[in-house]
Symmetry: C3
Subunit: 445 residues, 3 copies
């Protein structure tokens, strides 16, 4: 009887261990083409804004959230294990209190205006940022962020590259608020007294305010949290030196740059694609990241393409889209039977504001804007990345394959394949419901 | 009774977990020197061609195989976790259909001839490759490979450095064949129709051929697999622009280079050693890999040596050899008792055609050719690597140790040690059964 | 009944798995400030010399020890997984026998004098090293170390960066001693005879001495271990070419450099701080490591500061100190409840001679010397690291925050905060029990 039980329990143990490796469940069969489709939470490349962010801090003036680890979501994203995505949003006339982190940040303004101040032992620099502005904040740099606008929320996204641990970083705040302690409070009485050459009571009163708090009164009390309200005159004071408060003259290399000040690399009436690569910007070179900003009109399509070597993290800013990403069936990659047909898998997502979507390198993708859409993107491993389009006139890699090979690669004769490939006369962005085709109906040529 | 059972089950659980960390079994005691020997599948550095490759694709015209993960075979190879080895072999007059992968490849021709075409959105480049030719194929580059020879098989080995995941990569084929689906088939009807500005029926007919296939007839049918037969005139067409079909003028930096066009770095009547280092070639600099090609005559020995910092992956091309690699006893490294003598371990393998053998950095190795032998090798972490010989006249690091230290390091007086070290008058390659010694028999000096 | 048992056992299994992720136990509540404190073995940044080193070799003439893996101690140190720390100590008039390792070493002399000889196939270089001298030993380089002093022990610390595996490396010794086998002994009779063109008996006699050993007599016997005694004339012989025995002329780039020959970057009557950064030295640039040497007088304090991006490994050389390091509470980082106050954690250690302490990047730290103290430090990820002080006159990052922000960040009015921050008129090092404060007692201003 003992014997019978042990295998059962071992089996349970094995099942328990097996369940640790996340499985993405059921795939649907679809259309005449018989392709497996992963969607919703079974699509490991799609991070719904409501589900996959963890709140670090929230009060009435805004919040700070971090996206779940990419490598924990899917081992197909394992090479993103050193990257995290942070979202910050704050109400008009507010300040995010000074802090530093054990991570390099690449900050991008999605919406609204900001005054960003970087503080170093030899001075500080304040910059006015608007939508599309980006700035690297090196690890350990103390910074604070003002939303100087009277009406608009400020929305920022940061790519974080942690220093001490591949996937974790900490924000170190100077202030003690009701939401968290000042890191200065971590030192003992003796260290604090010697460091500030002052009595601990004075230090507590001035820096931590605990005594007063216990008294439950007085004006010198703690803030409610790390995002605080500002009065008009405080904003005026804090922004007046913006962009010129540095003691040392900064080379323009260290200053913020705006994605949308450039000419788009692709554009037509259906959309526009802006991009800054590591070659063009030293801050991006350091991180080996490209930044892009893409605008797609409702009912338009960013044509199927893939990035030759960059892994791209999209952050939807406004609008809705259907994204289709193509990979190989995951279980087949692992343990393909020799006589089994290797099948492709469609990873589909209906994305909307604040969602995140990851496009692995080499994986074909198409984005169909179901409303006016714009998104920002970080391209990891960006140096010498090439965007290879699979349809359209320009940058179409298939059209460079010689006819004789097309002839062998596809069932129709090479000339017919070429004709099909060259039919689309537009490039990069097209109408997602082309009139010509609609009027043509299902007639064959 | 319950109490008694739990520890037993916990014990089983622990044993089960322990069994996950691969153990390499039994070691044999050997010779008068009393050295542990690992061989066969207990030798974690030896990858028998029959056992350790996984077939990705195979038909009557050739095959594509990938070697098991190095880091899964032994944690002594953990720093190879980002590298995979792929073998491709194809029959005369065949084509490997166009595809790209989410990995950088370093391709080397082991045998036969090839026409390699790299396709980019701005043009394509075709190169004629022969034995010893190497070429980096950057991640995401579409390429196809012709075996233009009428008689000889083409054999290629690729070092793969995956982009999205440390140890996995995918091949993305444009064609739908009986063996796999086209990645274009992963997109939905709507995306395909808008992208190609054509009706889905037309697209299916021209690109995927599924309709015809269902009809089980017609000439426009799918290929049987990703390696297909070519007619003479197709080969003529595909090779006629080789080496000059690029629209942009390529610098010679991007072109293939041949390992055997160089002067060997070591050679005598027993063997020859060719090598290209990152210093000499920008493609290798990118990957920090050296390439070598070694020819050893039957009955000759590549003298004991070690690589100062490179981890070397040997791929046997022709012939047989005994390889002896020296490391420390693995269990001792982990949990050495303080008064236990630290012992060395011999990792021995009788390698033959297509086998793979890994030489970790710093580990002494000797290769004894039991028939005429040649092999190719990838050296990972190659920059400034130095090959330190432990015997022979030239490049012998032991002969640079001062006599006074030899005197202390070895039981015999320093002069006697020097005499022994300087006895071998040849360098790098020697006779594995020297006549002198054989005639001398077991007489002592 | 069966049902009832399974969940219990599963639960036990889960507990067992959970116990694998190291937990650092109990935290104490402390002082009026109510801060969690980790100390002793619950402080994962503190490596007590007695507990956390593993002995690799020890005899009457000295020892070689390796520190436990950082990443196994705490996942907060995971980015140190490629680094190991090795301690070597030897008696006067001794030699550490020639060997190489599959790791790059950065060697620093803590105490005593050494003659270090690096052997390469094209020559050798000997250097006389004294306290504060540092030298990179590239992976695979054979070296030996003489303690030429008649009285003083030699103490050396090495930072090791393994090549084949992130956290393991092996020392390959040429000599067979009673403590370990020569790696040459790993080769078979045939290979050895062909390599040295000699009979195996001769080889055994000269290199391994086993025959004699079995005879239990004769002068040609093995050494007792890898550290051996030297006679005066041997030392004279081995040191006479020191610094000039190289066949090729070495650029000064490859030569040892002394930390204490520089001007200190900070110094006053309480202490001195010496540092060499990657910018100033090519050997350090290769490894992206800075080196520092710090001297603190008894009763003095190195003011609270943090390193912007470097992870610092301190090795205490002489004296005692209290170190206070501030981080966030670890369990909170993992699974913070939204309405829970985020608290800081003090990591405190009373360090003494030979202890190791790690300071993660961005984490504030203060060092209070309870006796005359000096320590060495390796800074990992050193390029562009900045040391931001949180108190004192110079390099104080808090004093660069504008008054209006201080006003919002702290409970007291901005001017009062500024006054407190500017009270300490010294920089970097201060008196840990300032007289002024002591006399002032607990009076408030």
């Amino acid at each position: 009887m003992m014997r019978a039980r042990i295998p059962l329990l071992l089996l349970l143990g094995i099942l328990f261990l097996a369940s640790l490796s996340v499985s993405f469940g059921i795939r649907e069969q679809h259309e005449s083409q018989d392709v497996s489709v992963s969607r919703g939470k079974n699509n490991p490349f799609y991070f719904n804004s409501d589900r996959w962010f963890r709140t670090l801090f929230r009060n009435q003036f805004g919040h700070l959230r971090v996206l779940q680890r990419f490598d924990q979501r899917s081992n197909q994203l394992q090479n993103l294990e050193n990257y995290r995505v942070v979202e910050f949003e704050s109400k008009p006339n507010t300040l995010l209190l000074p802090h530093h982190a054990d991570a390099d940040f690449l900050l991008v303004v999605l919406n609204g205006r900001a005054v960003l101040t970087l503080v170093n032992p030899d001075g500080r620099d304040s910059y006015i940022l608007e939508q599309g502005h980006a700035q690297k904040i090196p690890a350990g740099t103390i910074f604070f962020l003002v939303n100087p606008d009277d009406n608009e929320n400020l929305r920022i996204i940061k790519l974080a590259v942690p220093v001490n641990n591949p996937h974790r970083f900490q924000d170190f705040f100077l202030s003690s608020t009701e939401a968290q302690q000042s890191y200065l409070q971590g030192f003992s009485k003796n260290i604090l007294e010697a460091s500030f050459d002052s009595d601990i009571k004075e230090i507590n009163r001035v820096l931590f305010g605990e005594e007063r708090q216990q008294q439950q009164q007085g004006q010198e009390s703690q803030q409610e949290g790390v995002i605080v309200e500002l009065k008009r005159e405080q904003i005026r004071e804090l922004t007046k030196h913006a962009k010129s408060s540095s003691k040392k003259s900064l080379s323009s290399e260290d200053e913020p740059f705006n994605l949308r000040n450039q000419k788009p690399i692709y554009s037509n009436k259906f959309g526009a694609f802006y991009e800054i690569t590591p070659k063009k910007n030293p801050q991006l070179r350091d991180l080996d990241v490209f930044l892009s900003y893409v605008d797609i009109k409702e009912g338009s399509l960013l044509l199927p393409h893939y990035n030759s070597k960059a892994i791209v993290i999209l952050v939807i800013n406004e609008g809705k889209a259907n994204i289709e990403l193509v990979g190989l069936k995951e279980e087949q990659q692992q343990q393909q039977q020799q006589d089994e047909r290797l099948e492709v898998q469609r990873y589909r997502a209906e994305v909307s504001e604040h969602d995140v979507f990851v496009i692995p390198a080499g994986h074909p993708v198409a984005i169909d804007a179901t409303s006016n859409l714009n998104f920002f993107a970080f391209g990891i491993n960006a140096e010498n990345n090439q965007r290879n389009f699979l349809a359209g006139e320009k940058d179409n890699v298939i059209s460079e394959i010689p006819t004789e090979v097309l002839d062998l690669a596809f069932p129709a004769p090479g000339e017919k394949v070429e004709k099909l490939i060259e039919k689309q006369s537009r490039s990069h962005f097209v109408d997602a419901q082309p009139e010509e085709q609609q009027s043509r109906g299902h007639s064959t040529e």
